[in-house]
Symmetry: C2
Subunit: 700 residues, 2 copies
């Protein structure tokens, strides 16, 4: 059963009737602004001011209470002080109001008493099957039906509906985002702010926009989600609908995370978990506003290219190099133009650079026709998936720009499957014109390249469906810590490749176990009273035959007893000696919001000194596991260095995916789990985990 | 003797008299534009059109040839076809013209014949002590004396002189840069483009601007320098004059570098060498235009802060977090506000976040006075070196903005030593007003933080003088490859800590050598005929006493002879066994332009798989060597991990600096030099290089 109830959100986001509780005659007041804005915007439904002290508000008939309103109410906007909220909410419930957007502040974000009131609010709303946005939010704007349920001055005038859906947990940012977007000539389908999230969460908004046909891309401004599985469900919906999501997630550093936690009542998960989740679900993470809106613009206007190859055409050699550097550093493919096409460009401009970038030089300043012809050649003969041009200052010359506009319109008709992007000085009018036929325009050439890389990344990320691993068997996890033998047995039952070790109570059993396992073997003393086995002579390595095993068993018993006369000794573990593997660590930690997060890295110094590790939210399939393995910087070591054979990464990926499935299935029972070391043996020989520590979850 | 002759550049960059050779009556033509531009700008010197076919050009008396001009000529601008260049240049030389700026193209950038003509040009200019800018350049503009020696339409109108000096190797970019700067409300002191650099190089321009009092910051657009030592001299001059340099250096990736090489006649050095040089000399490397002009603006308008602590004041909690994340990731210090000051802020705005960021919340929308008071508290009590605010959309409200302008002006007067920065939606007029009293204004809050980090970085980079190591003794380097013994001897004489090893011809000598060196020792066979010593049993490790040494010597001789009966064997090297060090690699490679570049990294897998290495241009002192050591990601290994003692990084730094001095002193003789491995022993025990390979330079 889905966690998100999409149908119930419609009255909130696309209401036919909106009541404003606390409506004011003064459009400058918090209760006057939404009435004023909706009158100005031309709201397509019924607008109902509610105020006990007025017969009429801003020219509309007013009602003393919500109960007095005739007819159904899809949405009630709350612009009243905190003290009046609960009675009014109960009145709404009684009246059968279908949703509420609450500006009122002073709840969970300020005090424990506020938190209790907010919990009461949630209960009232849930009982009445009434959706509740806020409190402490800036409301919601629906650009298509002209519904402006907010008091933020940034929405005093709204443009026609666009293609970008905006979800913001911060109210202030919601309003600002609209102004920034307008400065850049972008327009929204919806702008939703969620505030304290007493009921409706950012995940609900994302899911709603994911299935909205007018929304081509969702911009998500996130402090931290409250409910991991719900967020994942929303991301899956966006993925299923092929909808790109661009996110700013606050708290990338520890200081940032601390500030995020104090700012709202949000329980932000650790940042690594979010970063992992975004990578898994194809969410583009922007580092600042510039990038957030740039990539949003690219997704709203441009199409995803069919691959990573890009042709760079420039009027300045230097800028061509700058774009090439950026393209390569972002993993785009800067293949040279075919020789024959290079010759054609040379015939036009003898001093042109014709590889890629194709530098038609400053000569085009004198003759813009040369640029047109060169662009035609590159797009026709280059076979590139995307084409980006740098036109210098030509964008500031109206005649030249008119010609270039015609050229791009023609190219777009001729090559509808190619992504066309231009850069250089431009004007808002030129940018607006180009976007009518899907050509992207940037001033900064490296941002043009970044946008192409982002679209190519979305193309790949959205192409493959989310792959789920085979379900893991449910096993009983004891709530008390297990000893190493029990842990190994449990994990082996879960299908994890734990080393095949046997407990031997005496030398004869050890010899027999070794013969069964095959030589060489290792022996380790088993005792709950001994922590550091090698310190007391409790370990023997590389025992090559039965005699060595027998002798080692006896030596271990003697030495350990002499060091720890009182220790209770259960015998020795006998295990095969694994000498031909690369040492890795597989770990799982439970994120309070996003659940089990799997970590992978190379063992020893790589984890400790270099922090060369990567994360994924569990569960995930084989492809994701392979991507995970290739994430770490030390990956070449697994490919085989200095003549060493390549390691069995297929088996490693299998283990990672299986581990993720196991911990996901036991998310409530496991706090953390470390497999360390896991030896990745040469290709075809598999992996083997030599030790494991499982910390059961303490339930509170 | 300096390589750069500053006095000779004055007639070129600040001429009193400018002749335009090939002057045209048509201001749209390449020879008409500079005449037109200088008339419009109000050039403060004498402007002299030269054209054999006109008596008068654009209202000025014209001369048929340069010889006919009365009086001295500081600068002759060449706007004639390539074929006419050499005779005209000779005429200039004869006339005693002091400098030439040449737009004419078609020389080294197109053909070998062009290259020969350009070499002739250089010879004529040098013989006549006449400085030559170009050919194939876009000229030079001096904003103070209104001298516009260019044909780029971007300079048709120039504003009053500013504080930014621009040097561009690309002509197209030079023109564009002026338009971009103008869009951002910035103005230049000079804009210089160097084209093919037949004589005047970007380094000359940089040096000239470094000592120009009006220029507060130099923006450098670089494809690659021709003369490393000259570039370094210019950088030293900038450093000595406390002048920040911001650079775009093209070719950060291999593809980019290839394109850069084909674009101009430039011999771009490897990018790692430039990156190293920039770090050593405090040049800020920008990755795109946005960053280039942003940091240029910050340096032109703002002051370097006194430290890295920054107070963040915001009207949006989320944006505060975004700024905090950016600040931390750029190494700024986001210390919380003192408790007492936090209480003062809370008294103003009870729901404020008061740590750092200080979030005064959306309440300031209603009462801007709260924001003013909070800012006053934070600056007075926070002790921060810099203060950055985020004001949301307040910058679009004229009344609020006027109040904030007054506030910032007051704060600036009260706290002249603090760097004040604001962010949020703004207007060009507001930005221009704030810069009159040194307050920086950005739309993007993360760029505001980036600018503070850049200024703090300059503060540190420019604070300490460039430190030069003690000179290295000059030693004769044979031009033929040396054997390992000779190499070790040579490097030991250079003061490098080569392992103390002895050649032993027989077992008795080996025993004696071992006794002198101290046990344990290693033995290695010495034979020019044997490459892989351990493959033929030619190595013995960890020999603990005389008997072991004797036995090992004999065994080596027997085994090696049985494998390689015909090999000429000189005996064995006896060396101390070093078992307690961290394995590192020190290497030197000769960059064709920048000379010897020293590399450092940890040995084995770290260099091979992780490419965890860092570079510096030789020579450098101890402080730089220490910075170099801390550069690598694996640095924690040298600090001591898993209970291992910290390594002797002081001795390592000493060795790096000495190696840099040695290779700098022998730059003409050494192509490459590897010390591998170099064992860094525990603190106080020094470092020891166990092997070395020196490749002498083959002179062409």
């Amino acid at each position: 059963m889905p966690l998100i109830d999409l149908a119930s959100l419609k009255p909130l986001f696309a209401p036919q009737s909106v009541a404003v509780i606390g409506a004011s005659a003064d459009p400058g007041k918090i209760g006057g602004a939404p009435v004023n804005f909706m009158k100005t915007s031309g709201f397509k439904g019924r607008l109902i001011p509610v105020n006990p002290n007025a017969k009429e508000i801003q020219g509309l008939p007013a009602f003393p209470t919500i109960a007095d309103v005739d007819g159904p109410i899809d949405l009630a906007v709350f612009a009243v002080p905190a003290a009046l909220v609960l009675p009014a909410l109960e009145a709404c419930a009684k009246k059968g109001v279908r949703s509420v957007a609450m500006f009122s502040a002073g709840f969970a974000e300020v005090s424990d008493e506020g938190r209790r009131q907010q919990e009461r609010m949630t209960a009232i709303a849930r009982d009445a099957k009434m959706r509740l946005l806020g409190p402490n939010c800036m409301g919601v704007v629906n650009f298509a039906n002209r519904m402006v349920a907010t008091f933020h001055a940034g929405f005093a005038q709204i443009e026609q509906g666009g293609r970008i859906g905006m979800v913001s947990q911060s109210g202030a940012f919601g309003g600002l985002s609209h102004m920034i977007a307008r400065d850049r000539g972008l327009s929204f389908t919806y702008c939703m702010t969620t505030g304290n999230e007493a009921d409706v969460e950012a995940s609900d908004c994302l899911a709603f926009l994911a299935q909205d046909p007018a929304t081509r891309v969702v911009l998500l401004y996130l402090e931290g989600v409250r409910n991991g599985p719900k967020f994942i469900e929303a991301l899956e919906l966006a993925r299923a609908n092929n909808k790109p999501v661009v996110a700013i997630k606050l708290g990338a550093t520890d200081v940032g995370a601390k500030a995020a936690a104090s700012h709202t009542a949000s329980l932000a998960g650790a940042d690594a978990a979010y970063d992992a989740l975004f990578r898994q679900y194809g969410v583009y993470r922007a580092r600042n506003f510039e990038e957030f809106f740039d990539i949003g613009y690219a997704c709203a206007i441009g199409d995803v290219p069919h691959g990573r190859s890009v042709g760079l055409v420039t009027v300045s050699g230097g800028v061509g190099v700058l774009m090439a550097d950026e393209a390569v550093s972002r993993g785009l493919d800067v293949t040279p133009l075919p020789e024959a096409a290079q010759a054609k460009v040379k015939a036009l401009v003898p001093i042109a650079g014709t590889g890629n970038p194709i530098d038609v030089t400053g000569q085009v300043v004198a003759d813009i026709g040369l640029f047109e012809k060169a662009l035609q050649i590159v797009i026709a003969d280059g076979g590139y998936d995307s084409l980006v041009s740098f036109i210098g200052s030509a964008g500031r010359n109206q005649d030249r720009m008119d010609r270039l506009h015609r050229l791009w319109a023609d190219l777009r008709r001729q090559y509808p499957r190619k992504l066309l992007v231009t850069s250089g000085l431009n004007t808002p009018a030129s940018r607006a014109h180009l976007q009518t036929f899907g050509v992207l325009s940037f001033e900064e050439p490296t941002y043009a390249v970044r946008a192409i890389a982002a679209l190519a990344w979305f193309g790949e990320a959205l192409a493959s469906p989310i792959e789920k691993p085979a379900p893991s068997p449910r096993l009983p996890i004891p709530s008390m810590p297990m000893n190493e033998v029990e842990t190994m047995v449990l994990l082996r039952r879960a299908g994890l490749p734990m080393v095949d070790e046997r407990l031997a109570k005496n030398a004869a059993e050890a010899e027999r176990a070794a013969a069964e396992l095959g030589f060489p073997v290792v022996l380790k003393v088993v005792s709950a009273d001994i922590l550091h086995k090698s310190d007391v002579g409790g370990v023997a390595l590389d025992l090559k035959d039965a005699a060595a095993v027998r002798e080692a068993f006896k030596r271990i018993m003697t030495t350990v007893r002499s060091h720890e006369p009182k220790a209770r000794i259960d015998g020795c573990l006998v295990a095969p000696m694994v000498g031909d593997g690369v040492e890795t660590i597989l770990g799982v930690n439970r994120d309070p919001v996003l659940g089990p997060v799997v970590m992978f890295g190379l063992g020893g110094i790589f984890v400790e000194a270099l922090k060369d590790v990567t994360f994924r939210v569990a569960p995930f399939g084989l492809k994701e596991a392979h991507r995970m393995i290739r994430d770490i910087r030390a990956y070449p070591i697994l490919e085989g260095l200095r003549g060493r054979p390549p390691a069995d990464v297929d088996a490693l990926a299998e283990t990672l995916s299986r581990l993720s499935a196991f911990t996901a299935a036991h998310a409530d029972d496991i706090e953390s789990l470390d497999l360390n070391p896991v030896m990745v043996r040469p290709k075809g020989k598999g992996v083997v985990a030599l030790d494991a520590v499982l910390v059961p979850r303490t339930r509170r």
